[in-house]
Symmetry: C2
Amino acid sequence: MADTLTTTAASSVKQQAQAAKQAAQFLAAAPIEVRNGALAAMSEELLTNEEIILAANMLDIDAARAEGIHESMIDRLTLNPERLAGCRQALAELIAFSDVLGEVIEGRTIAQGIRMKQVRVPLGVVGMIYEARPNVTIDAASIAIKTGNTILLRGGKIAQQTNDVLVDVLRKALVKVGLPDEALQNLDATSRDSAHELMGLHGLVDVLIPRGGAGLIKNVVENSKVPVIETGTGNCHVYLHEAADLEMALSIVMNAKTQRPSVCNAAESLLIDDWAAKDLFPSIAMALADAGTTLVCDEASKAIAAAAGVPADLLRDATEEDWGTEYLDMTISVKLVSDIDEAIAHIDQYGSSHSEAIVTDDYAAAQKFSAGVDAAAVYVNASTRFCDGGLFGLGAEIGISTQKLHARGPMGVKALTSTKYILEGSGQIR
Amino acid sequence: MADTLTTTAASSVKQQAQAAKQAAQFLAAAPIEVRNGALAAMSEELLTNEEIILAANMLDIDAARAEGIHESMIDRLTLNPERLAGCRQALAELIAFSDVLGEVIEGRTIAQGIRMKQVRVPLGVVGMIYEARPNVTIDAASIAIKTGNTILLRGGKIAQQTNDVLVDVLRKALVKVGLPDEALQNLDATSRDSAHELMGLHGLVDVLIPRGGAGLIKNVVENSKVPVIETGTGNCHVYLHEAADLEMALSIVMNAKTQRPSVCNAAESLLIDDWAAKDLFPSIAMALADAGTTLVCDEASKAIAAAAGVPADLLRDATEEDWGTEYLDMTISVKLVSDIDEAIAHIDQYGSSHSEAIVTDDYAAAQKFSAGVDAAAVYVNASTRFCDGGLFGLGAEIGISTQKLHARGPMGVKALTSTKYILEGSGQIR
């Protein structure tokens, strides 16, 4: 019996992918007016069907509560009129963003006068595997349609009823503008097989983007035969160089750590040049403690923090493991370093190549850190919290890539495109 | 014992990769003068050590002959003064090609006046898994160094002695210009484990590029945890539209099929608009037959070819399998289609998205084919044989990508780069 069920799930996901691939040519050929029209229709449908959506979401929430799911997860699962309005606002911004398809990336006349151009085209079929947040369903679907792609969505099991309704509603919008509704499909989230089958569809699915916890991402990276863009882990550092301005350092550390500690661009670790630490660290340590932050310190920084008055219950000794830990809560590791080289080497060893910041008034240090730190985004005198596709002007954000292939850092609309060479000749042969 | 051996091989490949990662920061920081200097030194060392290289190559050739390896493979394995001179010529062209590192791809002022720029950087550690050709060792090593990367080379077992000597020689060049020789390392090709371990080094190796037969590529795509760029398979079509010029069609078909049938950008299939086939096909069929090409035909095209005088021993009935076959020899499949839509649909179904050509004098047909065919390179009135990184002006070629992620089509120096966002502020927080 188990075998039979597995086979059924497999063939169903494959059939859905085949339908998506068929639909992809229509999406790729759809003019920008039609694709933007679809986004506008999505926004309308979300408003018209708000009650049905929220009712389905309530069923998921009730079921999740009954299963004893943690309230932080329930919060991620929850939709409400404000959050849906936020999604519609994002749709409006995406409509306003210029089309990237057809962009000529480079071009020249090559051998024997052949005119060559490299043109931006859709990827084709995009697969998303994600967790509780149903707003990802709307975000991912809209970015995919904007860029002429079709998309297979495999959300979290606990959001299945919400996602079913959301995808139905969004598909209505596609049909309204004459696009095939196979361009947007929800996979069965109640079975683990559907994710596994999706990972096996090499040749049918062009990219797989996992979004969620470390376990989910590791599973997809290790098991997918479809090319993957790895997202997520952000073990981000703020490095206070000896020439840092104290007021600016305080402001950036507090913002990077405490403004929204649960997200990947929040700071997890503070590095301070040791001979300036006695000037820089006391007031920062106290401000962090006052905000309820636990300081996980090396010996030298702990002594400064304790002397500054940080209560013992907010001080902990750092272990080797702490330097590599993404806390995602009100905890920060602190280490004194002898100079900028040690800071860069530490970030290189323990960082996740996401967002790394230096605070300094020194030109050479700023240049050295920018060039020497190998990360998706490097900040000089600004908070790591700016790492965001919308803020970067990329039109939207479908995730933050922590790999170096295809896309690195916040992924906007261009991350969902590929290219194609077109060569126009008049009979040339080699 | 087997377990012990496996562990030893594994830890050795991992240690090599760790050394490459350590070296990567020096390569990334090396100015273009030093990287070009390394390429110039490589060229010198290849010339100085030509005798030693050819002697090692002769040992590999003798061993391969003793094992009864096919002569076509022996040919790929063979180095000689002319081929080495070709490699040195490629090095000279690569030196002349402008540096792509540091290129600002885009940039703007974002929130609160933060200045953002996206800059081109090296990928880091590149892995190559390939087969008999030792010239790939030189090509791949030189492109990696030009672009500030380190590279782990895992060539074919039958070329091991040649590759050992080549890598030794090339590493001398790195040391001469002050670069770490860990930037270029040869893996043990006598063990299958070394390839397998390389595929498992997620987090240490940034990209894996397989080059070789379909089996090798499939193995890497299915088993690698490191991001892969898929290369190779070219089931390329030439489509003769009803408005094709006969003389041009003849010239392009002959060149695409017969000039070098063993390479991936050679044509494998000929599609002809059915109502023009009686005008277009007879002379082309005879020219192909005169060149010794076997025609694998559908019923309608077979009748035309037979009537034109193609000998029966060069005519074969096409099966479903033929439409998807990359012959890589003097064989071509032939099918009549009712119109351009059927041609595009056929290419979509059976093609490998590599290089696809249309011959036509019709503007609308040229536009429709260019936009509608989903391939890395689409040719209007030119031979598919132009698909080449050097000819495209990309500085070199490390392979031809048939996937859509990261790089598509001929991969030149830019394919070995990633990007990094640098944000310069004055204390901005969110």
